[in-house]
């Protein structure tokens, strides 16, 4: 009876073995493979970004990240080990992180099954310590992953943008594009608009791991897929120009500057202040820094060059003047019926000139040179709102320029339709025209739009297509095939009158602070009235006058007048670019002296 019982029991064992090893063999075979074989992603490096001369602006380098990797089938020993205070304290000490933070990260990793980065871009001493104790620290791994690097720090930060680790929401939204957790994704600037090119295609390989999750060897049965690096981008940016802009704007709290090549619309430099260091995003931003950046009053993440909107002030007189000339309403030598005595009466209101003592009698060119408001009030009334709006739009105001950067703002160029909508048909007065004619009132423009405006003015109204990408690394064009806007049609005489006026502004008008010895500079100052505080100072210019190679717009917020604040910035940039090194040191003194005397007359003007 006992022997029978024993035989019965062994028959049961035999049945159990048959079931496991024969009936369910395939399933368990697969489970044992899944146990030991893990898919490992080989990250493709993101494409680098260069300036037009091949200077490196952004690239990726292999960073050593210290990771905690939970296993698909967590071993009892591992869970026990990682839950022990000893493990936690040793790991925290090694990665130099707070134990509570490490515990939190490990807990999230264990529940979600995703790896957690404990320390990004760990320095060699930390890596050495980790390597030494790795055998005793289950779950801890050192993984090499490309990290974004911006060698010039905050230089052109807003234009370049930054790339960060993809978040949950982006993952869901872009699942079809093959993004995986841990991937870099461009968040702003060129990093974002050039994502398609910059992003590489990740490779993958299968590796054999042991129960502790340690890689033992590569799995030979499946061919690894090599990563394909992202394409490099060559920008129209010129590092020299950008550096000159950065230097000249260094003392500015809030403001923006844009430099454009008036020959082709390529962005030579773009700057917004305050600024941030995009490298901080690569290393993982702390909650506090992020809040400080995104919520702080000055908002360093905002790219004021394309997102900041300002009334163009007197820089808009360029548009008013061309509108009148191209429609044949005035000639360059035309005088207005009423000379300037410091103010102009219209509709029972008095509209002041910036110069209370008045400019006296001026022709059109002289009025531009001295920025006489009274002349332009009358000119505005003569051209009318529809013509003014049409010309402004032809210059690209009130529309996104399509420069190829994310989140560009369109600004505002009001016309009759806009006022009808705002106040009701016919319920607004012609008086708005007076303000618009001198660039005040509802009109708003981005610094980029202003730079584009002056660049087109320099080029006899030829349509320009502002762009930042010169070419993609593999040779394909950076998007030059995008349709250009209409451009501004006016006869040559009109443009030459404008150019003469603008040159006079810098030579002996309101913009003398932008003078460069030996180089003819044309420009226009502007002061944007700001109901919330001090006026914004503006200056637009191009140089050299004969064959312009650069056009610029400078905006300095809440600082005062364009002539005294913004024009000197432009002057410093231009001197830096056009004068040999030896002259640069001496030049500012001489020019500053000249500017002092010259601007004395316009001390309160623009």
């Amino acid at each position: 009876m006992l022997a029978t019982l024993a035989l019965g029991a062994f028959a049961l064992v035999g049945l159990g073995l048959l079931r496991l090893q024969i009936a369910e063999y395939a399933r368990y075979r697969q489970l044992s493979e899944e146990n030991r074989v893990r898919l490992e992603v080989l990250r493709a490096p993101r494409g680098a970004i260069f300036d037009r001369n091949g200077e490196l602006l952004a690239d990726s380098y292999p960073a050593f990240n210290i990771m905690f990797r939970p296993m698909p089938a967590e071993s009892t020993e591992r869970v026990r080990a990682t839950a022990q205070p000893g493990w936690l304290h040793r790991v925290s000490a090694l990665v130099e992180l707070d134990p509570a933070e490490v515990r939190q990260l490990v807990r999230i990793a264990n529940t979600s099954g995703n790896s957690a980065v404990l320390r990004r871009d760990a320095p060699p001493p930390v890596l050495a310590a980790i390597e030494e104790y790795r055998g005793e620290l289950p779950g801890i791994e050192v993984v090499v992953e490309p990290l974004r690097r911006y060698p010039h720090g905050s230089l052109a930060a807003h234009l370049l943008g930054y790339a960060g680790e993809i978040n949950e929401a982006e993952l869901t939204a872009r699942a079809a594009d093959g993004y995986r957790p841990g991937d870099l994704i461009g968040r702003s600037g060129v990093e974002r608009s050039g994502e398609q090119n910059l992003r590489g295609r990740d490779g993958a390989e299968y590796v054999v791991v042991n129960a502790m999750g340690r890689r033992v060897s590569t799995y030979a049965d499946v061919e690894p897929r090599s990563p394909v690096a992202g394409r490099d981008l060559v920008l129209t940016l010129d590092l020299k120009v950008q550096q000159a802009l950065e230097e000249a704007m260094a003392g500015v709290d809030r403001g923006a500057a844009v430099a454009i090549d008036p020959r082709d619309g390529g962005i030579l430099g773009m700057l917004s202040r305050p600024v941030y260091d995009p490298n901080e995003f690569s290393h993982g931003l702390s909650q506090e820094s992020w809040l400080e950046m995104s919520r702080g009053g000055s908002n360093p993440l905002l790219n004021r060059a394309i997102q900041g909107i300002y009334p163009p002030g007197s820089t808009f007189k360029i548009v008013t003047m061309i509108t009148a000339l191209r429609n044949g309403l005035v000639r360059p030598g035309t005088h207005m019926p009423q000379p300037c005595h410091g103010s102009y009466q219209f509709g029972g209101r008095s509209f002041g000139c910036w110069k209370p003592e008045g400019h006296g009698t001026l022709d059109l060119v002289g009025a531009l040179q001295h920025s006489c408001d009274v002349y332009f009030y009358q000119l505005g009334l003569r051209v009318g709102l529809p013509r003014l709006e049409a010309t402004a739009r032809a210059f690209g105001l009130g529309e996104r320029t399509g420069v190829g950067l994310p989140q560009e703002t369109s600004g505002l160029m009001p016309g009759p339709a806009w006022y009808d909508k705002r106040w009701g048909a016919g319920r607004w007065r012609k008086g708005v025209l007076l303000n618009l004619a001198i660039g005040q009132g509802e009109i708003l423009a981005t610094p980029l739009q202003l730079a584009l405006m002056v660049a087109e003015a320099a080029g006899y109204g030829r349509a320009l297509r502002p762009h930042v990408v010169l070419r993609v690394g593999d040779g394909t064009n950076g998007g030059a095939d995008r349709p250009a806007q209409s451009g501004v049609v006016a006869d040559r005489e009109a443009w030459e009158a404008l150019h003469t006026g603008l040159e006079l502004v810098v030579e002996s008008g309101t913009g003398t602070a932008a003078r460069v010895p030996g180089v003819a500079v044309a420009g226009k100052t502007g002061t944007a009235q700001n109901p919330h505080g001090r006026d914004h100072a503006l200056f637009v210019c191009y140089a050299p006058v004969e064959h312009p190679t650069i056009a610029m717009a400078i905006v300095v917020e809440n600082s005062g007048h364009g002539g005294s604040i913004a024009a000197p910035v432009a002057g410093q940039v231009l001197r830096r670019l056009f004068l040999p090194d030896s002259l640069q040191r001496a030049a500012p003194v001489a020019v500053a002296a000249a500017a002092d005397t010259d601007t004395a007359g316009v001390a309160h003007g623009d």
Binding site: R27, E74, N210
Partner: protein, 411 residues
């Protein structure tokens, strides 16, 4: 004349099966301990222990069992002292104290206690005046088992401690207790198991218990005293279990619950069972080959050289290897029970039954555990698992069986 008769009387099938299993065991321990890690190279120590174990087996087989018999009570006494010593000074592992350390030696007194208990039980149950139909004659053997059972259970080592009642049941049966009586006597044990399957605080448990008792009593028709005692014991267990369950170690409860449903906790206690089943199942018909097991080689299989060594056999040698091992064990056990049946001396016969049952219990509980049909109890597989004490004691058990075989015609 007597000397000439001796050799042919050895049980050769059992001897060959034992020898083959020891060789398979050594090869498997070698495979399981060539994996880089904490247990690397332990197979050399196992080889040393094997030499010692073979010597001990030789001695156990040579000396007349009556000589061992006279040592039974002193040995039993010493093993109880050792069990107490374990509780006092033992070495812990996984929340349990199971080992005693004497200098470089580390051994498990529960293994020794098992053999000693078989001896004293055999002696007690072969007493000429014993009458198992008399209720009071049950108590001395029960007491002899209860003490080591309780001490081992306290370590706690649930798996090994349950081998004591298993031995007692087989020996009671062999000593002539009627099967019906035995079943009724065991009924509190079934109630115990039931209390884990169903919540003893709820109605279904009580319905099942009542129905079961009525059926058993109707079949067995016991005398009144037995009936009352059995009923009282069953009710006692039923009422005590909720309290006992509250006091069980967490890991003990978890193991039992995990056994009932291993997939519910794949990261925790169920991990061992799942990995063991993967190892065996992925071995297929012919296995992955000696030293080629990935479950074993990459350390997914826990305790691969001790409790889960059968999974290594299954993974590397497949169904053929695993069945070979099972058949060899079956051979030893069936030959063992057959030996007990043909042995003329009552003490020797009971001794054989006890020894074979202890062996059988370990083998079947361990193997059922590795295929996921029994809870993880921490029992080694006799002759295959790494572990010195168990190897020596198991060889002594087999030596003693050969001892009985040699003298099976004596009265």
């Amino acid at each position: 004349m007597a000397t000439r008769l001796r050799l042919p009387l050895l049980d050769f099938p059992m001897l060959s099966a034992s020898g083959l299993l020891l060789l398979i065991g050594l090869a498997t321990v070698y495979s399981a301990t060539t994996v880089p890690g904490a247990h690397e190279g332990l197979w050399i120590r196992q080889l040393t222990w094997l030499m010692l174990a073979l010597g001990a087996a030789w001695v156990a087989a040579s000396l007349h069992y009556r000589a061992h018999d006279s040592l039974a009570y002193p040995l039993y006494g010493i093993s109880l002292l050792l069990l107490v010593a374990v509780l006092a000074f033992g070495t812990s592992a996984f929340g349990a104290k199971r080992w005693l350390e004497l200098g470089p030696l580390r051994f498990q007194p529960s293994e020794i206690a098992k053999v000693a208990t078989v001896f004293v039980l055999a002696r007690r149950l072969s007493h000429p005046k014993l009458d198992l139909s008399r209720f009071r004659d049950w108590f001395p053997p029960l007491l002899l088992v209860l003490v080591p059972f309780a001490l081992v259970a306290e370590e706690p080592d649930l798996g090994t401690s349950l081998s004591f009642p298993a031995i007692l049941i087989a020996m009671f049966y062999w000593a002539g207790m009627p099967a019906g009586t035995l079943i009724l006597g065991l009924s509190p044990g079934f109630t115990l198991v039931l209390s884990f399957l169903l919540n003893p605080r709820e109605l279904p448990f009580w319905l099942t218990l009542g129905l079961g008792l009525v059926v058993v009593i109707a079949l067995v028709r016991p005398r009144r005293l037995l009936l009352v005692t059995a009923l009282l014991l069953n009710l006692g267990v039923a009422f005590a279990m909720p309290i006992v369950k509250d006091r069980l170690h967490d890991y003990q409860l978890r193991r039992i619950e995990t056994f009932l449903n291993p997939d519910q906790d794949p990261h925790g206690a169920g991990y061992q069972i799942i990995q063991s089943r993967i190892a065996i199942g992925s071995g297929g018909l012919l296995g992955k080959g000696w030293l080629q097991g990935t479950q074993k080689g990459l350390s997914f299989l826990p305790m691969r050289h001790t409790d889960f060594i059968f999974a290594v056999v299954g993974e590397e040698r497949g169904l053929l290897g695993a069945l070979t091992v099972v058949i060899l064990y079956g051979l030893i056990i069936v030959r063992g029970y057959r030996l007990a049946a043909v042995t003329r001396n009552g003490f020797a016969s009971l001794l054989a039954v006890g020894l074979v049952t202890a062996f059988f219990y370990h083998v079947i509980v361990n193997i059922l555990m590795t295929i996921g049909w029994a809870p993880v109890t921490g029992l080694p597989l006799p002759l295959l698992s790494y572990g010195g004490t168990a190897l020596v004691v198991n060889c002594i058990q087999l030596g003693l069986l050969q001892n009985v075989a040699l003298r099976r015609q004596e009265y």
